[in-house]
Amino acid sequence: MSAVLTTGTGTGTEYEPAAEPVAGAKRRAWVPYVQLLPGGVWLLLFFALPVGLLAQSTLWDPSGSLEQGYALTWRWQNFTDGLSTYSDQFIRSLEYSLIATVICLVIGYPLAYAIAIKGGRWKNLMLIAVIAPFFTSFLVRTLAWKTILSDSGFVVDALRWLHVFGPDDRLLATNIAVIAGITYNFLPFMVLPLYASLEKLDPRLLEAAGDLYANPVKTFWKVTLPLSMPGVVGGTLMTFIPAAGDYINAELLGSPSTTMIGNVIQSQYQRVGDIPVGAALSFTLMAGILIMVFAYVRKAGTDEVV
């Protein structure tokens, strides 16, 4: 500022940037790395390292045991064995989690929309209601669903009374129960990202669309939905990814015919004791999800809307 003033009075001094800001900028330049350190160390110790060990264990010889140790024999067959034996469970996992994700989106979008746009002063209360189930454990909630869907529960009673169900039809131990459980358990993960992006939506844009001859349905497809795509993408990923690896719902609400890949992995590790195949299945699931997510994010084109 002073330099500008002095040239104004005609002394002609040139403005020369001081040296300190550069040094200051340099000093500040590594502050972000320091801030990254705790998280980075955490990730390294508890994510990267275990994943590396897991990767290694996929190629162990299954003839060993935890007590005697396993030999690293680069046995790629673990993957092909696992895939050929459990392809049904793989497909079922993707199917169930996909259906549950779609149902979550269909239920969650109107809910998030209502809270974000029409919530008014009840907004926070409604959001608390959405996350209220998290105050109890995942296991307890799923067990509660077991009671709700049980053969003597009110849902089955009602369906029988309506003659939708015959006397021998049941809900528990069916794929409907498993999908319903997954949908219930992961719904908040869909609602919260959707709410976050719908909350940012400028209601004046909706008015503008209406003013430009778009009826409410067209306004939704042309303006609301495109602008809430970050929430849709975020919500579907947050629902689909954990749902695909979930085993609690299939375990508690399903039957052997609704076994998901998560159940197989769990039993390989904890019951059968075949760690290499369990690891190979985990890895395949992880890789499969990663590929699907990449394809999905590219297709949904989030960079355009954020």
Partner: protein, 396 residues
């Protein structure tokens, strides 16, 4: 159109500044709109009231806006002008009353069913669409053939000097450019009525003046009815043929800008539109004139300039109609003696404050057209005016 070429935000854009090329854009639009324009007709509001809970935003408002006029709703914020506009757009529903357009009742029509478009104060451009897609939106929604949309969008972008910006996003444009996109997006639909909700409020002063001239020109070219809401009295006066001054949900006065300025209907209008010196007094008829007695003097005002001819009244004179002199007051003028208490030289004029004997300060704008320097504070002067330049208003 050349005016816009000087817009500071696009220094490199000189392509359309060719002489004689100026009016090509509007001419195209005129043809296009003549072909596509539906029947136009006057916009009428009959006894329209809008309540928000206990608050009455618009109070029994009746108004007729002739087709093809440039109509300004002028008022301070909270006076109900935007609510009135939103009711015409269909974004608010009147509590009672009727709105008709070309004889057709549109009171309960949804916004998307009305042949009315709005330029929003915030522009409300769709951030996920390009400029072209924004402008094409209305045409697409009405099912105009794709082959016709493109040329119309191009013409409209040319009209607002943004032909090269079609593939950009709104966020990549400056405020003035966004404003023009909002205008193009509304105009391309050839609405029967174009509603402008303080569209220039976010622009800096210089750009605002340019856009005022530009808007007025476009309105003349396309011949649509423009209803412009503003709190800027200068903007309303430069652009509109008819100005309605609103206060507390009602229209205080409606008329041509000169009419409202020269002969305001109420003290509110006299002070909202420019400045006025208002002297409290009592009026009584005296032949062809009305005599106002105030502070022991009697001032004559022609009856035609009086809103009331008897009872408590304000005698009003605009500051630029007041003259100050240290010499004798010319014949046939009213005068008040006083002392100059303040003198501010503003280049084109000098603004004086003259304290009258009863303590009130009168504001006087004297053009700096002579060679004599401004009068100094402390000078004893006579402030005088021609009776035909004053007006008499009711004093409640």
């Amino acid at each position: 159109m050349a005016v816009l070429d000087q817009a500071p935000e696009e220094p490199g854009k000189t392509g359309r500044a060719l002489p004689g090329d100026d009016r090509a854009g509007p001419a195209i639009i005129r043809q296009a709109s003549a072909a596509a324009r539906p029947e136009t007709g006057e916009l009428r509001l009959e006894g329209v009231t809008k309540n928000f809970g206990d608050f009455t935003a618009v109070d029994d408002l009746s108004l007729t806006i002739p087709a093809g006029s440039f109509f300004a709703l002028l008022g301070a914020s909270g006076c109900g002008k935007t609510t009135t506009l939103r009711m015409v757009a269909g974004l608010e529903e009147p509590t009672t009353g009727r709105i008709t357009l070309a004889g057709k009742d549109i009171t309960r029509m949804r916004p998307y069913q009305r042949p009315v478009n709005t330029v929003f104060q915030s522009y409300a451009l769709f951030p996920h669409m390009t400029i072209e897609q924004n402008v094409a939106f209305g045409l697409q929604q009405r099912g105009v053939a794709k082959s016709q949309i493109r040329p119309q969008v191009r013409q409209m972008l040319e009209l607002v000097q943004l032909a090269d910006y079609g593939s950009r996003r709104p966020s990549q444009l400056s405020g003035g450019q966004q404003q023009r996109v909002a205008l193009a997006r509304a105009l391309v639909n050839h609405p029967q009525v174009l509603l402008l909700d303080e569209p220039l409020g976010a622009l800096d002063l210089k750009l605002r003046r340019q856009m005022q001239i530009e808007l007025k020109r476009i309105q003349t070219e396309v011949g649509l009815t423009f209803v412009h809401v503003t709190h800027d009295q200068e903007e309303a006066m430069t652009m509109a043929d008819t100005v309605a001054v609103m206060n507390a949900g009602q229209i205080e006065q409606l008329g041509a800008p000169t009419e409202i300025y020269e002969f305001p209907a109420s003290a509110f209008v006299a002070n909202f539109l420019g400045q006025s010196n208002l002297l409290s007094g009592d009026a009584q008829t005296a032949g062809d004139d009305v005599a106002v007695s105030a502070y022991g003097s009697r001032f004559a005002v022609p009856s035609a300039r009086c809103r009331v001819t008897a009872g408590p009244a304000y005698l009003g004179v605009r500051p630029e109609k007041l003259h100050v002199t240290t010499e004798a007051v010319p014949d046939g003028h009213n005068a008040v003696p006083g002392v100059i208490t303040d003198s501010s030289y503003v280049g084109v004029s000098t603004q004086y404050l003259v304290r009258a004997p009863w303590g009130e300060e009168l504001s006087v704008f004297a053009p700096n057209s002579g060679t004599a320097g401004p009068l100094q504070p402390g000078t004893e002067v006579q402030a005088y005016w021609h009776p035909a330049h004053s007006f008499v208003l009711e004093r409640a």
